[in-house]
């Protein structure tokens, strides 16, 4: 009985080892299963190396904070400052100004939306907190610059206005 167990144990062991080797050698002969992306080459999707895919970041990737503008240079930020209060790092500075609208009422409007990329931890709280959905993340991740001052960005465009209908 013991001998049968011993011998069948050998065959079972050898079989499971062979299964493992079949998996690894099947990967070896299928180079197209390589998952590594070759970074500087795949930016433009050119054909160096074995992975030829163009680099595409996935949608939920938090690259940097941006404020999307419409074709008429309108954004949705009402300068409420909720994002600034929610940011744990003091990354955002909402600088507002007072404007008189068509009805003659004084109203707060966005002057400068300052974003210090160097202090951002990409937690996403600002985007979540914004009541009007004015800010979002872009997929750009190549942030390296030679001067720290270049990391301070102003997100609203020159002369941009609040989109009609956003309060």
């Amino acid at each position: 009985m013991g001998l049968i167990k011993y011998i069948s144990g050998i065959f079972k062991g050898v079989w499971s080892l062979l299964q493992g080797m079949a998996v690894t050698s099947s990967y070896f002969v299928r180079p197209w299963t390589i998952v590594t992306q070759q970074y500087p080459e795949n930016r433009k999707g050119n054909k160096r190396g074995r992975s030829k895919k163009k680099l595409e970041m996935f949608e939920r990737f938090r690259g940097e904070l941006v404020m999307p503008h419409s074709e008429n240079n309108e954004h949705k930020c009402s300068a409420c400052g909720i994002c600034e209060m929610n940011c744990p790092n003091g990354t955002i500075e909402v600088i507002s100004k007072m404007e008189v609208n068509e009805e003659g009422k004084k109203k707060r409007a966005l002057d400068k939306y300052v974003y210090h990329l160097g202090m951002c931890t990409f937690c996403g709280l600002c985007v979540k907190a914004c009541p009007s959905g004015a800010i979002c993340f872009s997929q750009n991740f190549e942030h390296a610059v030679f001067n720290r001052a270049k990391l301070n960005k102003i997100l609203n465009n020159e002369g941009s206005k609040l989109l009609k209908g956003v309060e």
Partner: protein, 362 residues
């Protein structure tokens, strides 16, 4: 001086004659030894560099990675760059180490593998020494490497290297037995220990096929045991990066570390060439008894390429072992050897003897 890529015998003979005609036999022998030494040294360095590169590429492809691909096309210059890096690194002196043994140890390891390579037939006539006890000689000198490993671990005065060296010693000594016994199985079949006779006997078919069941068992056992003997994964618990940092060579730096590293890869090359020679016919082309046309086509490929191809096939299998299986524990390692490989081997020797006595082989 005639030269043929299919048969080096006449080339070496005429070189020998030329030297003996022009000088005394002492000088002729010295020059021949020097030539062979330099030739083997160059071969050694080249193969070592290539094997490191090949291993990195093979393991990368197995793991769905790309591997080195920045230095040179497909990264082929990577290992040369690594070599220069190692050469230029500082040799750190260890304060409380046993200086003499610490410095000798890498040389013992590398000399052991150097001695073994001399007895391996690379092609017809391309064979440094053709001992009539060739296999015995190779087993003997390759087991000298363990002394270097033990000395390195002991003289470093470091507990990790000592543990690594002890593990390595236990492992090499016990698996040596299986390597020896599986080779003895084939010696029984071949009836000789001389490499040239063994290769010549495989003219009409490799021993792996002619010796059928016992030869295949011996081949598998040899592959497992020689992977363990060369301290490679899954039997690399002597250097177990995650537990012992690097095992016996943890205190070595620069070129001395490179010696251990190179010796490890060369040992792999040596055991693979012995496997290729004893089981797969060495430099002998693939011949199937009876098909003379097929045999003739196979003869067209130079023997040296047959030898290299078979050796690298075995090396590939060993790399596949390393990158497929998880590392064994020390008790599992010794169980595998003493409870499985050794009894199987002993039964296999008897089986082979029976088959040879009764002529039940091809």
């Amino acid at each position: 001086m005639e030269f043929s890529i299919y048969d080096f015998t006449s080339f070496t003979k005429s070189l020998d004659k030329l030297l003996n005609e022009n000088m005394s036999s002492f000088w002729a022998t010295s020059i021949e030894m020097l030539l062979i030494g330099v030739g083997i040294l160059a071969f050694y360095a080249l193969v070592g560099l290539f094997l490191v590169y090949a291993e990195r590429k093979v393991c990368a492809f197995i793991q769905n990675r790309v591997g080195p691909n920045r230095v040179g096309p497909y990264g082929i210059i990577q290992t040369i760059a690594d070599l220069f890096k190692l050469l230029m690194k500082e040799l750190i002196p260890i304060k409380n180490a046993d200086k003499l043994l610490f410095n000798i140890a890498p040389f013992i390891v590398i000399i052991a593998s150097f001695l073994a390579i001399a007895a391996i037939p690379f092609a017809k006539g391309l064979h440094a020494i053709d001992f009539n006890i060739g296999i015995f000689y190779v087993i003997a000198v390759s087991s000298m490497g363990v002394i270097g490993v033990l000395l390195a671990g002991w003289s470093s005065n470091n507990k990790y290297s000592l543990i690594g060296a002890m593990r390595s010693g236990a492992q090499i000594v016990s698996y040596e037995l299986s390597v020896g016994l599986s080779l003895i199985t084939m010696v029984i079949f071949a009836g000789s220990m001389q490499f040239s006779v063994i290769v010549e006997a495989q003219r009409d078919g490799w021993f792996l096929f002619r010796g059928h069941i016992p030869a295949i068992i011996a081949f598998v056992v040899y592959l497992i045991a020689c992977t363990a003997e060369t301290n490679r994964g899954p039997f690399d618990l002597a250097e177990a990066e995650s537990e012992l940092t690097a095992g016996y060579h943890v205190e070595y730096s620069g070129i001395k570390f490179a010696f251990f590293f190179l010796a490890e890869y060369m040992n792999m090359f040596i055991v693979a060439s012995i496997a290729a020679t004893v089981f797969l016919g060495g430099w002998m082309p693939l011949h199937v008894g009876g098909f003379s046309g097929f045999n003739h086509v196979m003869d067209f490929i130079p023997p040296f390429f047959w030898y290299i191809g078979k050796t690298f096939f075995i090396i590939f299998i060993m790399m596949l072992f390393k990158w497929t299986f998880p590392r064994l524990r020390i008790d599992q390692l010794l169980t595998l050897e003493w409870k499985y490989l050794l009894p199987i081997n002993l039964v296999n020797v008897v089986l082979m003897a029976l088959i040879v006595l009764n002529g039940w082989h091809f």
